[in-house]
């Protein structure tokens, strides 16, 4: 608790500090590669018009073009600057797909701070390429075998490390979940996505978008995009959760769609759990969405009706991944492919001529093994 209070106070102070902001902005520009483009996806829009009879303008927010290949670095550069100001000598993080682990290992290398990453042993196996990336960057990767051996268990283990080494260590939590101030802090650090997208869509179309669409696991990329438009009631917000093998099965990660209010990792939010309160195993083909909780701000947006949450199955995400690859020459991460998969259902609710922003939160390179296996191809990685 005192560590959280220290972090809350530090974040309140430094996030308003002009020197801190300038340093963060410089890193975002020169290191992360921001602003990321907003790319109009004309051939995807043509496909949608043919398949669904709806003519939209579709724009892709290109977080896949960030250094390290996903939006995760936006958060990590901010938190490493904070860790530095707090005088922490060591950083730790949890990771699911490995994207946040790679982003954390990256900033640790950049700042010369020792870094340890906790990753579920199941994820270590299915994301071996990212494990090697982290190791190459100098981080130590711990495979967590407890529980379901996925993201939630990696978070448990990171928390155990943090409470043990709280004096010297900063925990770079990777999403808008966990105890306060993480949901606020990570949301603010990711809000650069929404700020840029807001300005970019206005310069591209002369007006705001009619809808924003993003995948939701813990929910950081979605929160980052949504924050640019929360106060614009004309912009509909859609999150897409992982329906795994289907919402009528037990193999999904649709926390907002099928969960209930609960307490996990220090936050009260929707969770997937049974009647006894035991947290359920989440399932998704994308390791980054495989989390039985969700950021509390998403729970609020769901209950207030400001955002709507859909779900896409593994199969739909894989099809959307291939569709985007063939229409636009962009291979999205399987996480982001869920957002693309939500497009037809969002289109149904919009008039012809409406414009939609889809957050392409990461690139698909890390998923080649999984995708190849599904499509029956042989690849050696």
């Amino acid at each position: 608790m005192p560590a959280l209070e220290e972090l809350t106070a530090a974040w309140e102070r430094f996030s308003r500090d002009p020197t801190f902001r300038a340093e963060l902005d410089r890193l975002l520009r020169d290191y992360v590669g921001r602003p990321t483009p907003l790319t109009e996806a004309a051939r995807l829009a043509d496909h949608l018009a043919r398949a669904e009879g709806r003519r939209l303008r579709v724009f892709l927010k290109r977080e896949d073009l960030c250094h390290t290949g996903s939006h995760k670095l936006n958060n990590c550069v901010g938190q490493i600057l904070l860790a530095q100001r707090l005088g922490k000598k060591r950083i730790i993080a949890e990771t699911g797909a490995g994207q946040h682990g790679v982003a954390t290992a990256t900033v640790a290398a950049l700042f010369g701070i020792p870094c340890e990453i906790y990753m579920g042993s199941v994820d270590v196996e299915r994301q071996s390429l990212n494990v090697f990336r982290m190791q190459l960057l100098g981080a130590k990767v711990h495979a967590v075998k407890d529980g379901t051996a996925t993201l939630k268990d990696a978070m448990n283990e990171a928390m155990r490390d943090w409470v043990t080494n709280v004096g010297t260590t900063h925990y770079v939590l990777g999403t808008v979940a966990g105890p306060h101030p993480y949901p606020t802090m990570v949301g603010e650090l990711q809000s650069v996505i929404g700020r840029e997208a807001r300005a970019q869509i206005q310069s591209a179309t002369g007006r705001l978008a009619d809808a924003c669409l993003a995948c939701v696991g813990g929910g950081s990329n979605a929160m980052g995009l949504f924050r640019g438009f929360l106060d614009d009631p004309g912009v509909q917000l859609f999150g897409v959760e992982a329906a795994g093998e289907g919402l009528d099965t037990t193999h999904h990660a649709a926390t907002l769609g099928k969960g209930r209010p609960g307490v996990l990792h220090g936050a009260r939010s929707y969770v997937l759990c049974d009647d006894d309160g035991q947290i359920s195993e989440a399932h998704s083909i994308s390791a980054g969405l495989d989390y039985p909780g969700v950021g509390p701000e998403h729970s609020y947006l769901r209950d207030s009706g400001r955002a709507k949450y859909l779900a896409a199955t593994d199969r739909e995400a894989l099809a959307a991944c291939r569709l985007l690859a063939r229409c636009e020459g962009i291979i999205p991460a399987l996480e982001s492919a869920h957002a693309v998969a939500g497009l037809p259902r969002v289109a149904e609710q919009l008039p012809d001529g409406a414009s939609v922003i889809i957050n392409i939160s990461g690139r698909g390179d890390k998923d080649m093994g999984t995708i190849a296996k599904y499509f029956g191809a042989e690849v050696s990685s």
């Binding site: 608790m1 005192p2 560590a3 407890d146 529980g147 939630k152 268990d153 978070m155 448990n156 928390m159 155990r160 409470v163 043990t164 080494n165 709280v166 004096g167 209930r260 209010p261 609960g262 307490v263 996990l264 990792h265 220090g266 009260r268 969770v271 759990c273 009647d275 006894d276 309160g277 035991q278 947290i279």
Partner: protein
């Protein structure tokens, strides 16, 4: 909350510490994960621990995500969950222990979500009905959300709080104000089952916690106490000693070797109790 004089709910926990004090010794608080390795063995283990001299039983409620626990209790939770353990069975276990032992104080020790999904009021009523005397919830900060403390208080049950080495004086005061039974001082920053730290510092902190709480409640120390010698050392300055992971390991070893863990646990608890004078 402590029970005011003349309360219709005399606190067994306060009584347990008072009794130990009157016998010129320190209280022994023993943690076991409920349903580890199975319901019936766990029932026998809890009763044996009480028989061997544990003054307060902390009945661990198995949960899927025990993020404050070290490897020993994580493994116990896994065994318990595999045997059908959870909040429902922990309450049944409490009731079964109470049916055979009217005296031992029982604290339900667990995490927030199983309480939250039931609702704090319903949980408190069920705990009372099962014969529990209090509850300790690792991830429900009493000073941030008083709902659990209020629900327990309405049933005449004690909320036992955890106090950490990093807890500020203001927090210790705020936590102690809504606490009952005893204050659980965590000897280290870390997880259960870690190495016991330098005791001079712990001793000074216990003294400070006692002062900050106005000496209203006894202070028990836990996390890292593994042997009778550890227990004796901590008993030099605390009102009670909590042993958890070490007891759970005794059970784990016996079960792994195919032996009934009850006699071994009973012997271990007897040694701990003897070390407390």
């Amino acid at each position: 909350m402590t029970n005011p004089p003349g309360s219709p709910f005399p606190s067994r926990i306060a009584g347990a510490f008072a009794k130990a004090r009157s016998q010129g010794r320190k209280a022994l608080v023993l943690y076991l994960t409920g349903c580890d390795p199975d319901f019936e063995t766990s029932r026998r283990l809890l009763l044996a621990a009480a028989r061997a001299g544990a003054d307060v039983l902390e009945l661990g409620v198995p949960w899927s995500d025990p993020s404050a626990d070290g490897p020993a209790i994580q493994a116990a939770m896994r065994r318990a969950l595999a045997a059908g353990g959870g909040m429902g069975t922990a309450l049944d276990l409490c009731r079964a222990v109470r049916a055979d032992n009217a005296d031992v104080a029982v604290v339900l020790f667990g995490y927030a979500n199983p309480i939250f999904v039931r609702g704090a009021a319903k949980f408190a009523a069920q705990a009372k009905q099962a014969g529990a005397d209090g509850a300790l919830c690792v991830d429900w900060p009493a000073d941030e959300d008083p709902e659990l403390a209020q629900a327990l208080s309405q049933q005449g049950l004690d909320l036992v709080p955890l106090i950490a080495p990093t807890s500020t004086p203001e927090r210790v005061k705020a936590i102690a104000a809504v606490a009952g039974g005893f204050l659980y001082y965590v000897s280290l920053t870390g997880i259960t089952g870690s190495q016991l730290p330098n005791l001079d510092e712990t001793s000074a902190r216990v003294r400070q916690v006692r002062e900050l709480s106005g000496g209203r409640l006894p202070v028990a120390v836990g996390f890292g106490i593994a042997t009778p010698a550890d227990a004796r050392a901590v008993a030099g300055f605390a009102d009670g000693v909590v042993v958890g992971s070490a007891a759970v390991r005794v059970i784990e070893r016996a079960v792994a070797a195919g032996r009934d863990p009850v006699p071994e646990l009973e012997a271990f608890v007897g040694e701990l109790r003897a070390a407390l004078g």
